[in-house]
């Protein structure tokens, strides 16, 4: 399976957004004084990290498949 240039472009954009989101939610989790929001922010930060890792794994898989 190949990755197109367009796909690579979107992957880069989304990874950049996800990285910012991780940083932003994690930072707010620390700054917030409301325990419920702290918990929610930190859970959402984890989910965004999950998105980042999922996309990265996908690209790695596709790149490996292409070598054989």
């Amino acid at each position: 399976m190949q990755i197109t240039e367009m796909e690579l472009l979107h992957i880069g954009e989304q990874l950049r957004s996800e990285a910012l989101a991780i940083a932003k939610y994690a930072s707010c989790a620390r700054q917030s004084t409301d325990p419920k929001l702290q918990q929610m922010y930190s859970y959402i930060a984890d989910r965004h990290r999950g998105h980042y890792e999922t996309i990265l794994r996908n690209v790695q898989n596709l790149a490996t498949q292409r070598q054989f």
Binding site: M1, Q2, I3, T4, M6, E7, H10, I11, E13, Q14, S17, E18, A21, K24, Y25, C28, S32, T33, D34, L37, M40, I44, R47, H51, T54, I55, N58, N61, L62
Partner: protein, 137 residues
């Protein structure tokens, strides 16, 4: 320094932006596996956005104004008429395959005034979209 309300509002905007990116990424993916991945994450972005919205709504920080019932009913009438008009136009075109679409169409339950009576119970309750049977399958 942003207060708690501003932070939540900012996250709503963030989620909207990220979800938009995934929608476009999924739409423009030719690789099936990648497209599925983008669509899966898009769904989670929507869920996150909704959780933030609910948090704001519960605190009275986001009040969405309910639509007027008269306006809803007026629009429903208009949209039902529009559907009738489009259906009539579509099926009267010369060369159109009469019947083939009509066999499939009632699954939507889109006839004016009938609601979703022809759908399964669960779909009827939830108002879920059910695509018609694919004639090419």
């Amino acid at each position: 320094m942003l207060d708690e309300k501003d932070r939540l509002a900012d996250f709503l905007v963030t989620q909207k932006y990220i979800a938009g990116g995934y929608n476009l990424a999924a739409m423009e993916s030719s690789n099936t596996q990648l497209k599925e991945t983008f669509m899966g994450i898009l769904r989670d972005e929507h869920l996150i956005q909704h959780e933030i919205f609910n948090e704001m709504s519960n605190r009275g920080w986001y009040q969405a104004k309910p639509a007027n019932l008269n306006d809803i009913n007026q629009n429903l009438n208009k949209w039902n008429q529009e559907l009738q008009r489009v259906q009539n136009t579509a099926y009267r075109q010369p060369g159109a395959q009469q019947g083939s679409y009509q066999n499939v169409f009632p699954q939507y339950g889109f006839q004016a005034g009938t609601g979703m009576q022809q759908m399964g119970n669960e779909a009827q309750q939830q108002g879920m979209y059910r695509p018609p049977q694919n004639p090419m399958a």
